[in-house]
């Protein structure tokens, strides 16, 4: 079993090795869901497909956090689930730790499952309501490794210490825990199998600010001590900005901008990213109401037809430039281009 010792060694290795290896690489990943209208219309016409994820490429280095932001429905969660092969990808490649897992069989995947894990969004649904915390953790500890009872309890104690959860909570059922404690159990369960890559899907949404801060600190701590890599999916821009090294901004199934977190937050080049960040109510309350320009961008709609740039119908730059053809021509859909400093943006008229 991959014990804590080994992982700590990894973290030490990172300190002496300035070039951490890539733990996850996603190349042109696509996931299309088919949308059937009804039994009979399904016979006549071709099924309409919804491109939830439509050609996404990025990589994640060891000990690094990549934040994935975007409005709900833009495909963030689908990316997370597809990377773990919880839903099969339509096309593209997923490379985990130099192994192509895109078409790996389930038996082979089983061995890798311990190393890549997901913290689910809705823990009320992800924790079995009829199992006590002790049994939930025990199941996770023993699922990949055969351990004796004393080893299990030692491991359990380790985990409780790592996520700072009281031992008395082991006897509780999930509904008896507070939101923050439930998160801690969720994180302990992920750590128990020895995960190195963690896909955290909205780990702090639905938590109060004070508890949210505790969970963010815990995740940071664990990364420092265990050398974990996170794909941090969230629509809370403030949290993403603080926890991530790099941030990828998604719009309608595509990454429109990716770069270092503070650059995305302050020197964004894509109009969508700037709109997203300027819509933070907190930022607005600091500006005076008069100086705040009224922003009238439309509504995010998955089924709206588009051609060329997906953001064009809502884009202020597109409107200001007199609706140029290059934005709506399907031949010239913008692709991610490097603009220096590890910053890439998909826009014809970057700011």
């Amino acid at each position: 079993m991959r014990l804590q010792k080994d992982i700590i060694f990894d973290a030490g290795y990172l300190r002496v090795n300035p070039m951490p290896k890539t733990i996850l690489e996603v190349i042109d990943l696509k996931k299309h869901f088919t949308h059937r209208k009804g039994i009979f219309s399904g016979l006549k016409e071709k099924h309409q497909s919804i491109p939830a994820v439509d050609g996404v490429s990025f990589y994640l280095k060891q000990n690094e956090t990549v934040g994935l932001v975007g409005e709900s429905g833009c495909g963030k969660t689908t990316i997370g689930r597809t990377i773990l092969r919880l839903t099969p990808p339509t096309s593209g490649k997923i490379i985990f730790d130099n192994k192509d897992i895109t078409h790996m069989s389930h038996n082979e995947l089983l061995h890798l499952r311990g190393e890549m894990q997901m913290i689910f969004q809705d823990l009320d649904a992800a924790l079995n309501p009829k199992m006590r915390v002790r049994d939930i953790l025990k199941e996770a500890i023993t699922v990949h490794h055969e351990l004796s009872d004393t080893e299990v309890s030692a491991r359990m104690q380790d985990l409780l210490d790592q996520v700072s959860l009281k031992k008395s909570k082991l006897a509780n059922f999930p509904h008896e825990l507070s939101g923050g404690e439930k998160r801690r159990v969720g994180i302990a369960r992920v750590l128990s199998v020895g995960a190195r890559l963690i896909i955290a899907d909205e780990p702090t949404s639905a938590l109060d600010v004070s508890i949210q801060a505790q969970v963010v600190n815990l995740l940071k701590d664990l990364q420092k001590h265990l050398g974990l890599s996170y794909l941090f999916i969230s629509h809370d821009l403030r949290v993403v900005e603080l926890i991530s090294h790099k941030v990828a901004v998604m719009y309608l199934g595509k990454i429109v901008e990716i770069g270092l977190a503070n650059r995305i937050a302050t020197k964004a080049r894509h109009p969508y990213t700037t709109i997203l960040w300027s819509s933070l109510v907190e930022k607005q309350s600091r500006e005076s109401d008069a100086s705040r320009q009224v922003k009238t961008w439309g509504v995010f709609d998955y089924e709206r037809p588009y051609s060329g740039c997906r953001f064009a119908p809502r884009c202020p730059v597109y409107a200001a430039n007199g609706r140029p053809d290059v934005c709506t021509n399907p031949e010239t859909e913008p692709v991610l281009r490097d603009t220096g400093d590890a910053h890439r943006v998909a826009c014809h008229f970057p700011l």
Partner: protein, 365 residues
């Protein structure tokens, strides 16, 4: 001085946990008032009793024992009405040391009484935007119909055609694109933001004097959130509507409200003008408010090594309320001089500046 539109006094709402054989003291002596045209923000962690306060005002608590003590004075047509009138005839309370230990309540009689009083208030005088618009709208009726119903029930309009026209103007006013098309949409066909707008339209269509907005933007995207807040701000300046705004997001509260009440464990711990309560640089502040402001994720609040300043410990469990100050086990500002008091005596709300009250022994000189 004119009387406030709503004056809540000493409100207690309890529930009973049969598993633990104890009272859940959700709202434990809440008092505040809202003047006409004002927005009061109610902020606090989940479980602090914000929503239960709102539901108590609306008379929508159906589980026992529910509201057991207090007064809710509401001003309608120049007269002041107590929404909890005759409460004492249905409830007997006993206890010791200001702590309620036993409650006998005639629930059936009380419900009848509440319904009688609230029939002319709910929707008509006090409108409410509920927390989860998707589950609060009727899934079997088009949204337009639901707004029409509110108009027919609560305003002087009785003609369905006229009500339909009004519903359309309301849909337009809350900025729903192509209201005529959306009128016939069912809630599942609308996005979260649009459902929230429909919900706001429905609450406003009854032309209430007071609007209670319970977490109006929770669970919405940042872009939609800012639009809903803009909408509320606009309605406020346009119609001068009085709002009780409930949220756990301080940034939303600070954007809209003139005064703020901070709740913790069923009581108000700080209460005053927003600029005093929510200012970061003020030292006169309840330790809880201070910690809450410090835990907001932004650059200024980061510690040197990049961590957030979390409040240690968990939200207060309102079943086991400690003797003394409710925040004592998480408080970092308790000093030796006042520790005895913090542990054994609950601090009163103390006025430290005009209209600014703090419930903490630190400010009790």
């Amino acid at each position: 001085m004119t009387a406030p539109l709503l004056h809540v006094d000493n409100l207690h709402t309890y529930f009973y946990s049969s598993g633990k054989q104890a009272f859940i003291r959700s709202v434990d002596g809440v008092a505040f008032d809202i003047a006409e045209g004002e927005t009061l923000g109610l902020v606090g962690e989940s479980g602090s009793g914000k929503s239960i306060t709102a539901l108590s005002i609306m008379g929508l608590i159906s589980e026992g024992p529910g509201v057991i003590r207090g007064n809710i004075h509401f001003k309608t047509n120049g007269t002041i009405q107590n929404l909890l009138e005759h409460l004492d005839t249905y409830v007997t309370v006993s206890g010791q040391n200001n702590r309620i230990m036993q409650v006998n309540k005639d629930l059936v009689g009380w419900e009848k009484n509440v319904d009688k009083i609230m029939r002319d208030i709910r929707g008509k005088k006090i409108g409410m935007i509920f927390q989860n618009p998707k589950s609060s709208l009727n899934p079997f009726q088009p949204v337009g119909k639901q707004i029409m119903e509110s108009i027919l029930l609560h305003t002087s309009v009785t003609n369905p055609e006229e009500a339909r026209e009004r519903a359309l103007t309301w849909l337009d006013r809350v900025k729903i694109d192509s209201p005529r098309l959306r009128f016939d949409n069912y809630p599942y066909g609308l996005s979260g933001g649009m459902c929230q707008r429909a919900m706001i339209a429905m609450a406003l269509a009854g032309e209430p004097l007071l609007l209670i907005a319970d977490e109006p933007t929770t669970g919405l995207d940042a872009t939609i959130q800012s639009k809903i807040i803009d909408l509320l701000a606009e309605l406020k300046s346009e119609f001068g509507i009085t709002i009780l705004l409930i949220s756990h997001d301080i940034s939303i509260i600070s954007r809209l409200s003139e005064r703020v009440a901070v709740m913790y464990g069923g009581t108000i711990v700080e209460y005053g003008p927003s600029r005093d309560v929510l200012a970061r640089d003020r030292s006169a502040k309840h330790p809880y408010t201070q910690a809450l402001l410090a835990s907001i994720p932004n650059e200024e609040n980061l510690t040197e090594n990049g961590y957030l300043k979390a409040i240690e410990g968990d939200v207060l469990d309102t079943i086991n309320i400690p003797e003394g100050c409710r925040f004592q086990n998480r408080c970092s500002r308790c000093t030796d001089a006042i520790r005895e008091q913090c542990m054994h005596e609950e601090p009163p709300l103390h006025e430290i500046a005009k209209g600014h009250h703090i419930r903490c022994w630190l400010f009790e000189s």
